[in-house]
Amino acid sequence: MSVVTNTTTIGAIEAPSRRNTELMLVAFAVFISVFAYANVGLAMNGSLPSGMLGYGTGLTLLAGVGHLVVRKFARYADPLLLPLATLLNGIGLALIWRLDQSPRLIRQSKALYHSFSPDAPKQLLYSALGVALFVAVLVLLKDHRVLQRYTYISMVVALVLLIAPMFFPSVYGAKIWIRIGSFSIQPGEFAKIIIAVFFSGYLMVKRDALALASRRFMGLYLPRGRDLGPILALWALSILILVFETDLGTSLLFFGLFVVMLYVATERTSWIVFGLLMSAVGAVTVATFEPHVQDRVTAWMDPFSCYATDPSGACRQISEAAMSFGAGGTLGTGLGQGNSDLIGFAANADFILSTAGEELGLAGMMAILLVYGLIVERGIRTSLAARDPFGKLLAVGLSSAFGIQVFVVAGGVMGLIPLTGMTMPFMAYGGSSVLANWALIGILIRISDTARRPAPAPAPSPDAEMTQVVRP
């Protein structure tokens, strides 16, 4: 067990592991989050919140466990991913806790469900489960290439996950939930990881066929039908999701993921053209007869004009979100001092960003968006560094899915694109989302560890031996 000496000394032979950098950044992320939590308490009740100790210890424990596990099981991993995820999760918790105290939301909840229970403790529990999943990924998944074996299984699982919500009743206009008793999950969040796995495995095998064995037609390379089959199936599926589950966000996410991965695998620009064409056809077709989607588009065009009249509530929500951002201005009102709770329903989920916008202001929003951007870019950096095509594809798939999700949600809330029902990774309230995104970060960290590990395996070290002993 000479691990300790290895990590504290950065030798000239090995690439630096950067674990201490990560530790400091994690500590910083925890500090910022605890500070935000204290700030909310001081602003809203004039005293330090009573749950401060619990929240602080909880977050420190989670981040600490995450860090220790990375230190032990992925010591060459990218040092930024864990702190960034911790920061977002921590700030998200503070914002959710802030919205828990809103008398308006409490009254609304009591009117709707005859009860109110705060979401922040639940979110803290989900975060713990998320970190547990993160730990499980790092401990159990010794090498990401193992996932290759499950290419077709993951396709089946993804299909099941995506189709299942069709058989469950719709919640707030979108069928994106699987509900069994009091337990419910949003399978779309997990499906994005599983689909990325499937694509990586499939494209790694078929990429040459897709890139080369094609006919030229009007300047575009058209691939052979048998290679195209699974892709067309996925395109059809994303349209089906849109139609039957009225879930604009998920279908957009899968489509983006699908185009990006095809492009990376085949290196052919024609795939982008192809993908965009297909998505445009799909979107326009669906938009012409799906009222839910039409509502969203109307609300996007001019939310204030249909503020009072719209039946779906989308106009009101988007208007309120826009006014939240406006009210925040450059520096924000300060945590706990805004009125973002006027958005009402989903204020702490899909619309959590408008609370950030109002209370942290433009400055805070830019910081948060940059943190998201950094996660995506570190993911793609990992992909660039990865030495195996499967790892490359998986890393770029996961990070671009993450990036597209951020864009789709934030763009929707800010009125840049029509609103879709998806969660802001890490910040928004919701178990599925937090769990899935921690797993996603776990996989990225695993790939980056493999990628950054010194190329020629060093002479047998106690470290390597140990990992071999644990390998199942």
């Binding site: 008398p103 308006r104 009254r107 990006v260 492009y263 990376v264 695998a265 290196e267 204030f304 503020y307 009072a308 208007s319 826009a322 006014m323 951002f325 406006g326 009210a327 925040g328 201005g329 450059t330 009125n339 006027l342 916008g357 202001g361 433009l362 929003m365 830019m366 968006l369 940059l370 998201y372 951007g373 995506v376 870019e377 793609i380 950096r381 992909s383 660039l384 095509p389 490359k392 594809l393 770029v396 990070s399 671009s400 990036g403 597209i404 951020v406 864009f407 934030a410 763009g411 800010m414 009125g415 840049l416």
Partner: protein
């Protein structure tokens, strides 16, 4: 695979960049527009998020704030003697916006005004709660009470001015409403508000500023000033060239007087004392519309007054023929005046011919009572020379001494006044409006000028007269001001 990877990296960067640009646009570029949206509840929430500052009369607040049980609005506005002060304060309702001083000085009252910036910054460091500034009015609580009590259950309005400065001392309107009755956002508040809107007697109408009435004979003061200013007559005691009966120009109709009055070639003093229609009608016809209108406009007719609450423009018509000008000159035809306007007429006379701009906010103060803005008295116009003003004073004093306005006599003070009983409705079908305008003078000069109009009361038609109904109210108001001066 690295080349497409780099491109994807750029693509994702562009996505994030688009979001950053958008958030800049929303929070920096569009922020003001979004904050001003009528759907934005924050405006109301902010208005009641802290204890509002107060409107102050004679050093005492006439408003207050209580913690409201609403989840939107932390505080609720309250008023002391709401109905009495409503024409001054206006209302400030969580749901139905605000009016008058509550609205016009909203930024001071909420404490958001830029002029309070220093104060806000200071309290940020000292940790004191945010507070609103105060609006200190020029009103005189006793005069206001006298006006409101005098009007009682009658419909009408009364205004008292300080002739030397133009400061408004009283501003009453009846029937009135209690702004407290719909300050919150409960169902009862909405019901009360709706009931007030539907009420036929229009309790929310500010009759002192926003209602014009034919001024009737009270307008003869303006006509007298026009006659003297234009040199038509120069002595108030020499006989005028006034036949009786007098035919309206280009008409077959005689202009009647109210009864068999000694109006034939009566002097100006006598004509005002007994209120001769023929004498003043003929003055109007002789001077012509242009000169009459010019004089009326010097008194403030045909333009809106801002006190700072906006008062409607009083009317002296354009493009009238001789008969119409004659009728207008005795305050009939299209001539219409707000009570404020008629108080301005009386105050210009009392102030030796100089009309001061009426105002009712003396100063705005920060929460710590430091003055952030003060209204300086402003001269508005000079409708007549000092000499002519003093002549009209003599005439008006005769009216009170032994004419139609004897009810307004105050022991120990010189009172000048003019009554008016204005016809109302087609062919005089409605109850006439009873007017009284007056001023009081003590050894120190004139502290008060008053206009009172009673639109409707329980008195029978024959008993409605300016002298009988309106003069006692004016007297009570003037007395209140004189007593508080001592």
């Amino acid at each position: 695979m690295n080349k497409p990877l780099r491109r994807i990296a750029i693509f994702c960067g562009v996505l994030i960049l688009a979001l950053i640009v958008r958030t800049n646009w929303l929070q920096y570029g569009q922020a003001d527009e979004l904050n001003a949206k009528k759907q934005n509840l924050r405006i109301g929430i902010e208005r009641y998020a802290h204890e509002r500052g107060n409107i102050i009369v004679d050093g005492n607040p006439i408003t207050g704030s209580v913690v409201s049980d609403s989840t939107y609005y932390k505080y609720k506005r309250t008023w002391k003697d709401g109905p009495m002060w409503a024409p001054v304060t206006g209302y400030s309702s969580q749901v139905f916006d605000a009016t008058q001083l509550e609205k016009l000085n909203d930024s001071i009252l909420t404490g958001n005004d830029d002029r309070l910036f220093f104060d806000r910054t200071l309290s940020m460091f000292t940790g004191t709660k945010k507070q609103g500034g105060n609006v200190v009015t020029t009103l005189n609580a006793d005069a206001q009470k006298a006006a409101f009590k005098g009007l009682g259950d009658k419909k009408g309005a009364a205004v008292a001015l300080d002739p030397k400065t133009g400061a408004i001392l009283a501003l009453a309107s009846t029937p009135s409403y209690d702004p407290s009755s719909f300050a919150g956002n409960t169902d009862t508040d909405s019901k009360n508000y709706k009931k007030l809107l539907d009420d036929k007697s229009q309790p929310m109408l500010n009759r002192a500023l926003r209602q014009t009435y034919p001024p009737g004979s009270a307008f003869k003061v303006v006509t007298a000033a026009a006659a003297l200013e234009n040199g038509l007559y120069s002595n108030i005691d020499s006989p005028t060239d006034s036949p009786l009966p007098w035919k309206l120009p280009l008409s077959t109709q005689d202009l009647p007087n109210e009864g068999p009055l000694p109006c034939k070639n009566a002097s100006l003093r006598l004509a005002l004392q007994v209120s001769c229609n023929t004498v003043f009608g003929k003055i109007g016809a002789d001077l012509g519309e242009d000169k009459m209108r010019a004089e009326a406009e010097k008194f403030g007719f045909n333009s809106e007054q801002f006190t700072p609450t906006r008062a409607y423009a009083s009317v002296f018509s354009k493009n009238m023929d001789g008969a119409q000008t004659a009728l207008s000159s005795i305050g009939q035809f299209n001539t219409a005046a707000t009570p404020l306007q008629m108080a301005m007429v009386a105050s210009a006379v009392a102030n030796d011919g100089t009309l001061m701009k009426p105002y009712m906010v003396d100063r705005l103060t920060a929460p710590n009572l430091d003055t952030v803005a003060k209204t300086e008295p402003q001269k508005m116009s000079e409708p007549m020379s000092k000499e002519h003003a003093q002549m009209i004073q003599q005439m008006m004093e005769t009216v009170v001494e032994k004419g139609t306005g004897t009810m307004a006599k105050i022991p120990g003070a010189t009172v000048g006044g003019k009554t008016g009983t204005a016809q109302n409705g087609i062919n005089n079908s409605g109850n006439p409006y009873a007017w009284f305008i007056s001023y009081a003078k003590t050894a120190q000069g004139s502290p008060v000028a008053v206009a009172v109009v009673v639109e409707d009361s329980n008195a029978t038609r024959e008993h409605i007269s300016g002298g009988g109904l309106a003069a006692p109210i004016a007297k009570a108001m003037m007395q209140a001001v004189i007593n508080s001066e001592k």
